[in-house]
């Protein structure tokens, strides 16, 4: 199997050619080692970082932005969103605070300070 992908790890957006031959995956077109990992992962088990918001219950109309601490399986994106949507936090919140633990294999952490 052979696929052409655009690497999404950085804005450069390298065009990758990924060939899968049994258990072996070959990536060309990458400009950095991260691109190779991305190419390998994207054809075997694609992952994404999910970013969203969580309501701050003790502040009027204030949301804290959050992200998955590590990328999650692409297939799990909407499951992650559902969990995030149910969550709420109380201020103060600091960047890096864990809002939810182990959602589809990743913690959900705050990306904004709310005083």
């Amino acid at each position: 199997m052979e696929r052409n992908l655009t690497c999404i790890l950085c804005p450069r957006g390298c065009t990758l050619n990924v060939t899968v031959d049994g258990d072996n995956v070959f990536v060309t077109g990458n400009s950095c080692p991260r691109g190779r990992y991305y190419g390998e992962e994207e054809v075997v088990a694609p992952k994404r970082t999910v970013t969203s918001i969580v309501r701050v219950s003790n502040r009027d109309d204030v949301m804290v932005s959050v992200k998955t601490e590590t990328p999650v399986a692409k297939a799990d994106i909407f499951t992650v969103m559902e969990e995030i949507r149910k969550a709420s936090v109380t201020a103060p919140v600091r960047v890096g605070d864990v809002i939810l633990t182990d959602v589809c294999g990743s913690n959900i952490i705050a990306t904004k300070n709310i005083d």
Binding site: L5, T6, C7, I8, L9, C10, P11, G13, R48, T49, V50, T51, S52, I53, R55, D61, V62, M63, S65, V66, K67, K74, I77, F78, M81, V95, T111, K112, N113
Partner: protein
Amino acid sequence: MAAAVAAFDSGITDVVIIDREKEVGGILRQCIHNGFGLHKLGRELTGPEYANHYKLEVEKRGITVYADTTVLSVTPDKVVTATNTSGILKLQAKAVILAMGCRERSRGALNIPGTRPSGVFSAGCAQKLINCEGYSVGKRVVILGSGDIGLIMARRMSLEGAKVEAVCEIMPYSGGLTRNIVQCLEDYGIPLYLSTTVAEIHGNERLTGVTIAEVDDRRQVKPETKRYIPCDTLLLSVGLIPENELTRGAGIGMDPITGGAVVDENRMTDVSGIFACGNVLQVHDLVDYVSDEAEIAGKGAASYVKGLDKAENRVKAVAGNGVRYVLPQRVNTRGGDTDIFLRVTAPFGKVKFTVKSGDNVIATAIKLRATPGEMEKITLKADKLRTANGDIRVDLEEM
């Protein structure tokens, strides 16, 4: 903030930042997606995290921040008048760095025919309502413009449960980064229609639908391709305009192509001691480059205050074949290595850039591809730059 930090670190510690928002960080605070900081900070951050990085740097240095304060005017002799809930503030500065960013083009500027219902948002306005205030803006969405904000919002709306019916782009190519087309549209099965625009807006109260249509190579609607799409929300991501009202008010010379000031390699405008950087100077695609530019301006302002910059030996830098603009527009031939930033006029495959002064080649650069959506950078080496004997010009050649 990056400019203030750079000025501070260059030995000018009497620096103040004035910002109209209650929290510093500008538009980054609503850009909750990731992808910021890989070049500059070596890690992948979300917008708020990237802003927070600089906020911490500002705090570390004890730089004064006037938040919730709007600058009303800047004069050529560098008197800054601002207002906040305590009153009117007047500051006399030795140098001023303009970093007001940009704004989105509105529906009016596009002249889309039809009615004027609610539900037509600039993408950034919808982004603020959703990401900062936590409100849904609609359920069925059409997006006009495939710039990065449009693409990011297509994904964001999908994640929040809305159905994004289409992203329409009037040009035959997307203005956004390829990675965003992959991870924002393809991941969510959202169609991107190129050479297509919104021809009419329908609905008397809330938006009820739009008519989309293909355009010919003169960007005129082809009537036979008109197609109605029911929707309650239209997001416009149709270009960014540097917000230069204060710049014009100070009588600073502007570049009609960038929409920003004409600057030298230190990002000083033609009004001595007033600098500009970031999206107010030229609309960037990467915040990392905004920070780089801010550092150049911060250092430049510090040199100016110290009296080190005599503004001598400047030549003009101009855009040649295939190049839409170059920045800075004036370059010191006796300075250090100098980066020239530029955008090309159309998408190209492999290209060679040649920087010349007369017939004297100062630099060349080869790129595998070049698109108007991605800013290019060419470094001019100090020793080569010294050989310039007049204005320098950048040309593109297809390979």
